[in-house]
Amino acid sequence: MLSSIIAHIPDWLVFFQAAIAFLLPVGANYLYNILNAWGNTGRFTAAAAGRNAAHKDKTALSASQPSPSSASGTPFSGNYAADLQAIRSAIGSNSDLHFREFPLTKLHTKGTLIYVDGMQNDRLLNLRIMEYLMFEATADTLASPLNSVPAMPFSDLTAAADLTAFNRSVLFGHAGLLIDGMPHGLLIELPGGANRSVTEPVSEALLRGPRLGFSEVLSENTSMLRCQGFSDGLELKSYRIGNQMQKDLVIAYMKDIVNPELLQEVETRISTIDSDFLAESGYVEQLIEDNWLSPFQQVQNTERPDRVISALMEGRIAILLNGTPFALIVPVTFSMLLQSPEDYYERWLPGSLLRMLRFAAAFLALMAPALYISFISFHPGLIPTELAISIIEARQGVPFPSIIEVLILEVSIEILREAGIRLPKPVGPAMGIVGGLIIGDAAVNAGIVSPFLVIVVAVTAISSFSIPMYSAGITLRLLRFAGMLFAAFLGMFGTILFFLLLCSHLTKLKSFGVPYLTPVSPFRLRDWKDLFFRAPLSLMKRRPAMLKTQNDRRKSKV
């Protein structure tokens, strides 16, 4: 008995292996915790959420105020000359700032119009506003009984809270007005800086569907959302975010559909953003996402207003930032990354077919090189014999193991793709032909790679272009290399392990509280109508169950 027990005690090598098996996950966990703690400073975290809730009043306050320093912002003195002097000394050194002093004839007093070059319609400023101020404005208009803002005939007219805010707005492009005898500086005329015209979205082109894409101007973008239809449900909430340079940010949602808890969550995360400057909505995305270590995006970005509005109608929330045509949609699930608005615009059969095609393409883009490596290097016996023989014959001249072979071609294709973005438009196609066709052909002839691999890599590359979200495509490109490494080490077993790890990661991932793989798991049968299939519109009677909307009926009669 004892001897048989002793005989079964593994030797010291096994214990050594066990120690390694123990140390690696512990080390990885330790590293993960350190990384997480380090990377989460200055961004939203689930752990900090409770703390934030306590400090919410404070953060909300600082979000609504122009800047943290504005608590001590200089107030208007009420004295015209002193205020003007203060403005001059604060921002007067800017060469593009104009001070236009003028008399108000009916009032026998004077005022100053302050504006920045190029941000105002000069003609309007000169002809209408100056004319009105100099010759028509009377004492009544300045002393309005209604509120603190005088009754002047401008649609955009606000009184600045203090000098700091006034200066800031003037430099942002508002026309500022300072009148002798008025306690506040006034802001008239919205800034009208240079911007481009509205064009078709470049990154999300469709054959069928609206051609309208967002532009860089926030007010235009919100107006595009409003233009989608008559409703009093669409609500826009404005924030001003940034410590050094502030930017306007708008949260859009349907107030009678969205889940209030989700809205609360988004607002909390937005108000905890602590950043100098938000250059693009990508900054917002990275500062509010749940898990910054995940390769998957947890916020969807889009330039299509129609996509945003249909997401809002499902009960999601959109975040728009001034200065970028990319709006963000939260929460996002994995299946959304493979859906295109066109699925809904075409009839349901072609829509479903295309959608399934995209799922297959995503699988290929992720797995094809890994499968190639594991079949060629490890299990040629698992593919049909004739095929295996012809592949091996074609590979005879190739001096590398399959992983090196695949890496050579994959990396060069990635380089080609990266270069393609930067190539000037007239050169692009020519370079594509040189890079893709000639180099591929030459590589095969030179015996560096096998012709079969060229097919695999080309199919992979094309498949990854069929994914409607560009950023999701990048994720799959990234993970493809991880899959290739797994396959190179353990063949089919490694590939399966890679798939299982990916599944494990995806099931842990959440986007604003919604599990990333819904409706596959947690299983929500109702939402399967809009997953691999796109059910006929008449059958999609309810909004997605995963969003727990207030009002989940899409039709008046269910």
């Binding site: 096994v14 066990a18 123990f22 996950p25 593919i383 049909p384 392990l497 299982l500 099931t507």
Partner: protein
């Protein structure tokens, strides 16, 4: 609540969890194990009978667990039979789960080394697999159940397709005559068939994790019903296709059946490859389930945090998987596990239900 903070699973998730804990190595080995014991083609009757027995066992476990809502067996056993005895039995159960996890992963490694990765050192297969499992188990029962939900449908579809295609070899004569030697061989086959259901002990912890424990009976019976059907199908198809004699002589009869024919004009000529893929994934589920149960057991018995316990389990499971020296040892370990499972069944659910009933009656009479 928009964001769920509690780590609970739905009834369907619980059913899938139980199913994936039970459905594992047996798919490949059951036809041999049962045929060896029965020696007549009546093994499918044994499967049915043992399935009914296991269902009764599970019913007992659920009923017992429902008396203690929100508590796993590791927590309530001490309340029934006293801290010391209860703790000891629970420790036994937790060790049982460790050994079971080691066994599952070892049989996985054996199959992988035999069919996929000849010549690879065995630790190179086992260790990455344990690591992948660790990553999943750290996510808690919800993540595990969700991965199971993804994998199960794929497994079932591939399994059914493989069996369906292999029907071309099916010969009803291999299954005849029915009950030629009377009922005795069927009863002999009960033990090896009950053994493939080892792992159903997870029921005693699953009920505690359910959102609606009242649906537990239905969920758990559904969870054991599916593997019962699949095992029955496996035995019918394999013995019908290979005949009882070749089923006894081959190590992995199911794979041998699938390897024995070719489908021409298809990308993969033999379905053994997809079968291997889903079997590996199914084993991963199996392994993760026991890994989680073992960690949960140790953490609840000794009142430790779950995560450090998970990490400590890694080398233990590795050692457990390395104890058998050969394939023969692995199968011997499998038998030992089966016996251990029966002993544990008598000790924990049966004994504890008895004590609980007595105590309750006693309270009533006194009150």
């Amino acid at each position: 609540m928009f964001t769920r903070t509690d780590d609970k699973i739905t009834a369907s998730q619980a059913a899938v969890f139980l199913n994936n804990s039970v459905l594992g190595a047996g798919i490949l080995t059951l036809p041999r194990g049962v045929s060896e014991a029965v020696k007549t083609p009546d093994s499918w009757i044994s499967i049915l009978l043992s399935g009914v027995i296991v269902m009764l066992v599970i019913l007992l476990m659920v009923k017992l667990s429902q008396q203690f809502p929100g508590q796993t067996v590791f927590q309530y056993a001490g309340r029934i039979s006293g801290k010391f005895i209860g703790g000891l039995l629970c420790l036994l159960l937790a060790i049982y789960f460790v050994v079971l996890a080691g066994f599952e992963i070892r049989s996985l490694a054996e199959v992988t080394l035999f069919f996929l990765l000849e010549g690879t050192p065995i630790w190179a297969v086992i260790v990455p697999f344990i690591w992948a499992g660790t990553y999943l188990v750290c996510g808690g029962i919800n993540s595990i159940a969700r991965v199971f939900q993804i994998i199960l449908p794929i497994s079932i579809v591939v399994l059914l397709i493989s069996y369906g295609v292999s029907l071309r070899l099916f010969n009803l004569d291999h299954l005849r005559p029915v009950l030629s030697d009377g009922i005795a061989p069927v009863l002999r086959g009960l033990k090896p068939t009950v053994l493939v259901y080892t792992g159903c002990e997870v029921t005693m912890t699953l009920v505690a994790f359910m959102q609606q424990p009242r649906q537990a009976v239905k969920a758990m019976l559904a969870g054991i019903g599916l593997p019962l059907c699949l095992y029955l199908l496996t035995v019918l198809v394999v013995i019908g296709g290979l005949s009882i004699d070749s089923a006894i002589t081959s190590t992995w009869p199911t794979i041998d059946l699938i390897r024995s024919f070719e489908i021409t004009g298809f990308f993969v000529e033999r379905l053994e490859f997809p079968l291997m893929v889903i079997w590996l994934m199914q084993m991963f589920c199996n392994f993760c389930s026991f890994f989680f149960q073992a960690s949960l057991g140790f953490s609840q018995i000794f009142r430790l945090k779950l995560k450090p316990v998970i990490f400590v389990m890694v080398p233990l499971i590795f050692l457990a998987s390395m104890v058998p020296k050969s394939v023969g040892d692995v199968f011997a370990l499998g038998d030992a596990i089966g016996n251990m499972g029966i002993a544990l069944f008598i000790l924990i659910p049966l004994l504890h239900s008895g004590i609980w009933l007595l105590r309750k009656k006693g309270v009533k009479q006194n009150g």
